[in-house]
Amino acid sequence: MLAWTIYISFAGAALLMCLPEKRPAAARWTALVAALAGLACAVAGWMACRQSPNPGALVDLVNKAWIPEVGVRFHLASDGISVTLALLTGIAAVVGILFSWNIEQRAKEFFALYLALIGGVYGVFLSFDLFLLFVFYEIAIIPKYFLIAIWGSTRREYGAMKLALYSFVGSAMVLVGLIAAYVVAGSQTFDLVELAKYPFPAAFQNWAFLLVFIGFAILAGLWPFHTWAPTGHVAAPTAASMLLAGVVMKLGAYGALRVGMTLFPIGLHTWQNYIATLAVIGIVYGATVALVQKDFKFVIGYSSVSHMGFVLLGMMTLSQIGLSGATLQMFSHGIIAGLLFAVVGRMVYDRAHTRDLGTLQGMNLSKSLPFAAVTFVIAGAASMGLPGFSGFIAELQVLTGAWRAFPTLMMLAALGVIVGVAFTLRAMTKAFFSEDAAARSHFPAITIPERIGALTLVAATLAIGLYPRLLMDVITPSFNSPLMQPLWKGAGR
């Protein structure tokens, strides 16, 4: 069932290309139907996983021979982690389309590229053959480029090219690592489960891990390789920013976890502390830089870097609680970032045509766009990590894991949380709650698709915040599965 998410998305993209040129309505409804179908499959997969007696086990979806000459198979499978991220993709896909409802110019190409990107993302989360995973990972790069280059705003061509090149360089690093692993293992297979069993020599692992992990982590926004993220997010159109920050950055983190950490556990132990330090630097740096931004979208862009730092930190704790927290943070941040970009990009920028906080201050947005103001307050609260929202549970777990592994880093990360509060509050007050009570601008009302999209995201983050077991029940057992066993050897947790 889950595999259909991939097929539907690509089929939708192909269908969209065949639609007549000047009918944006047809394009958006087709895209919405395809995304909803994908979401339905993802939800079905999640429910099945929750109800299964062993949610953490790896469930094979498709496993067919593909290119026997190099030992590549078309192998799709899922465990709790994949299911969670597929669910995130489904939600983000639907909501992104809702927030792009107003795209008129070249709508069908927009939505075709969008669905192709979604298909690639689903593919990464469900692939268990390294070649296949890599193929989907790379497939996702080109739609991103075009989405930003054609429909973006500030410095879009530069932002698009930077993003594409950074992603491509990252994946190039991963490719080298994968080829090396394939050759060393000598078993003529690219299957992740098989390769994970192979005992790669320690010296090999030390550099192979770094290559593969950093290659993926570039896309996850690991400091100091994060510089594509703020530029890219700002340049991208709203839906693309939502997807970029919400889902695509998670591709990098997922790849780092699924491939880098699973294949090369010894290398992981060697580099654990260094990467954890980089992660925490990212948390604090991202938050601090966000504090001084004048452009609203840049604030959110840097906040994404900061939040992804939590994901990477959680991964490095090598404890079940830290890793579960990291996965939950991937989901949580995906939703929250989507919400933040939706407000900033679609609700505010599309109407006010400015993202400068100083200018916005004079527009008294809390009176002219009350829905946007309330949504941003909720999104901001969630972003700060206030309890009741998903971010709190995720950050709590990450910090708990971090305390056991790196107490000093944990305290620095807590500092990052405080700075996070500061910049969120600053952006919120500057953009929405100005002193000048009399000034009132008139903007078009918030449309129905925007409201539905915003409410969906708010409901998602609240639901997980109040009842985290919805996801924790599938995430935590996944780290007990046989695939993850090598991670715990030597960690003793």
Binding site: M17, W66, I67, P68, E69, V70, F131, F134, V135, E138, I139, I141, I142, Y145, F146, A149, I150, E157, M161, A164, L165, F168, V169, A172, M173, L175, V176, I179, A180, Y182, V183, V184, G186
Partner: protein, 410 residues
């Protein structure tokens, strides 16, 4: 079916396509002579890949080359065409001299011209220094034909100056033929000297990859860009020669065939654009509005050249990298793979620039839709489908290659 048959079939099909897509009436009155020369060149290629002795190889090579020199000059109204042909002829002549000299030295050392016999002769006696000179000279001669740096200087001018269909022909089928015959010579005739020629090939590969990609970054003419990209791709293909024979052959053949199809398609699109405006980057602006299907096919070709999955170019490169990395000693050539991957990453930039012009930039003054001939459109779409198909299901071609290799090993 042997590997040679596969190569010949590919060459003939590509030649047919190139011939069918050329519209010689557009640039010359001598249509009959044009096709005759094309056929002669194709004949040369078919013999080239089937030849089993050095002299026949040389003769076929010359048949191919001379025909192509003449074809390059066919547009009498364009001084660039004449200049290109002249450069090609002069360079080519020198290279041919090198090759002949090298062959004669090899004959002198071994007393044989048949490939297998040469190998036996070399195995029997210890190697003399003069042999290495011959080896190097032969390789340099072939490197010219392949447009491998630093023997590539003719390529940008020829690709840009010659009539576009001719450039397409040179870029596609002659590459297949040249690589095939080089592989034959190296693996059949000189297997014992492997360690020696490996370093030369590796050096050629590295220089080609780096120079080709870096130079392509700054090009404004799409044809020159394709020329430098051809240099880079020659570099990647040369990597395949460094692998162990059982991986090298499939990798090389798959790579060259898919590359040839891709580049033929790209040149055809460029030709259509040229007839309707020009072949600079600026002229491609907004092409997606005027010719959506062709633009999409160009997207396929460019991304395949860049090495984006699930296109044939990606799998070609991937297979070559695997083959090179698996070569004994294990991971010994990994540094080379790293260089290749890095170079490939750089290349995305300029391919995206082309695509950016086509898709993202607003169209210039010309906004009328393009209406190329039916056959051209069908051919372009066919080639794009082939690229996608071979990218998604490379086994279609690979099984045949490996079957041929196992049935008739060298």
């Amino acid at each position: 079916m042997t590997l040679t048959h596969i190569a010949q079939i590919a060459i003939i099909l590509l030649a047919l396509l190139a011939a069918g897509l050329s519209k010689p009436r557009g640039f010359t009155r001598h249509v009959g002579e044009y096709f005759a020369l094309l056929l002669l060149a194709s004949l040369g290629m078919v013999i080239l890949v089937g030849a089993d002795n050095l002299l026949l190889i040389f003769v076929a090579l010359e048949l191919l080359s001379v025909s192509v020199y003449a074809l390059a000059a066919f547009d009498k109204s364009s001084p660039a065409s004449a200049e290109a042909a002249l450069k090609y002829f002069l360079f080519g002549g020198m290279a041919a001299a090198f090759t002949l000299f090298g062959i004669s030295l090899v004959y002198g050392v071994t007393g044989e011209i048949r490939l297998e016999a040469i190998a036996n002769a070399l195995a029997a006696k210890p190697a003399e220094p003069i042999f290495y000179v011959g080896l190097v000279m032969t390789l340099c001669g072939f490197a010219f034909k392949l447009a491998a740096a630093p023997f590539h200087w003719w390529a940008p001018d020829v690709y840009q100056g010659a009539p576009t269909p001719v450039a397409a022909f040179i870029a596609s089928s002659s590459k297949v033929a040249s690589f095939y015959v080089l592989a034959r010579i190296l693996f059949i005739a000189f297997p014992g000297a492997r360690t020696d020629w490996m370093s030369i090939i590796a050096a050629l590969a590295v220089i080609s990859m780096l120079l080709g990609n870096v130079a392509a970054l700054v090009q404004t003419s799409v044809k020159r860009l394709l020329a430098y990209s051809a240099v880079a791709h020659a570099g990647y293909a040369l990597l395949a020669l460094l692998a162990d024979p059982q991986h090298a052959w499939p990798a090389l053949i798959f790579y060259t065939i898919t590359y040839a199809v891709t580049v033929l398609g790209a040149f055809t699109v460029v030709a259509v654009a040229e007839q309707n405006g020009g072949a600079n980057m600026r002229d491609l602006a907004g092409l997606s509005r005027r010719a959506p299907v062709m633009s999409f096919c160009m997207l396929v070709f460019m991304l395949s050249l860049a090495g984006i999955p699930p296109l044939a170019g990606f799998f070609g490169k991937f297979y070559v990298f695997i083959a090179a990395a698996s070569a004994a000693p294990r991971l010994g050539l990994l540094w080379l793979v790293i260089v290749a991957v890095a170079a490939s990453a750089i290349s995305l930039y300029y391919y995206l620039q082309v695509l950016k012009q086509i898709y993202a930039t607003a169209p210039g003054e010309k906004t009328a839709p393009l209406a190329p001939a039916y056959f051209t459109q069908a051919a372009i779409v066919f080639m794009a489908c082939a690229v996608v198909g071979l990218g998604c299901f490379p086994s279609l071609l690979l099984t045949r290659i490996t079957a041929a290799l196992t049935a008739h090993p060298f």
